[in-house]
Symmetry: C2
Subunit: 118 residues, 2 copies
């Protein structure tokens, strides 16, 4: 009778939860959202600040995040035209998720080089 905790959650499996966590955790997405939160709004700011992220991958990720309603692409009509990417309300609502992941990472995740050898 080890299944005592089962009824704590009304459902063990929730498709929206799975969709959300895989979306947030997909390759580079966390880093992009984190950078946008930090005020890096321009394409080149993002590639410069996220080591290993190619233009092509960033472009794909931003399109996905736009399609999900997490990021909006804003064209600023200056000369030359400026394009910025900003978190929407839905994207900003990830604040607490991001904070909790950062806290957990700080406490529990080893430096990448150490972990990579394990």
């Amino acid at each position: 009778m080890a299944v005592t905790a089962f009824h704590e959650d009304s459902e063990a499996f929730c498709p929206n939860f799975q969709r959300a966590i895989e979306l947030i955790g997909s390759r580079w997405t966390g880093a992009v959202i984190r950078a946008l939160r930090s005020g890096l709004f321009r394409f080149s700011d993002l590639t410069t600040n996220i080591p290993g992220l190619s233009d092509r991958m960033l472009s794909e990720r931003l399109k996905e995040l736009e399609a999900e309603g997490i990021v909006s692409r804003i064209v600023i009509p200056e000369t030359p035209v400026k394009v910025e990417y900003h978190l929407t309300e839905k994207g900003k609502a990830l604040e607490r998720v991001m904070t909790e992941v950062a806290d957990w990472a700080e406490r529990w995740v080893a430096e990448p080089q150490a972990a990579a050898s394990g």
Copy 2:
């Protein structure tokens, strides 16, 4: 001068954060951790309760989570021998991440069928 928020974070990019979020968000991992939290400790409980998760994928995921120190494999010396998977302290420490993701999903993530057509 749009970069006003930049210095709120000491670093826009953090490898441990990226590692953590991609680990948690990798395919099926969120669902497996969620199920373990709910008291589904046995291999067959997990495949039964996570639609679409094959034995092979679950086996891979559990090995990864063991290697990361998030899950421990416990052999109970009964007849027949019983094997259970439990969250370690590191895994249990994901509680608040999971709760925040679930809250965000509930508020912001559409039903999969609706989102898939968007």
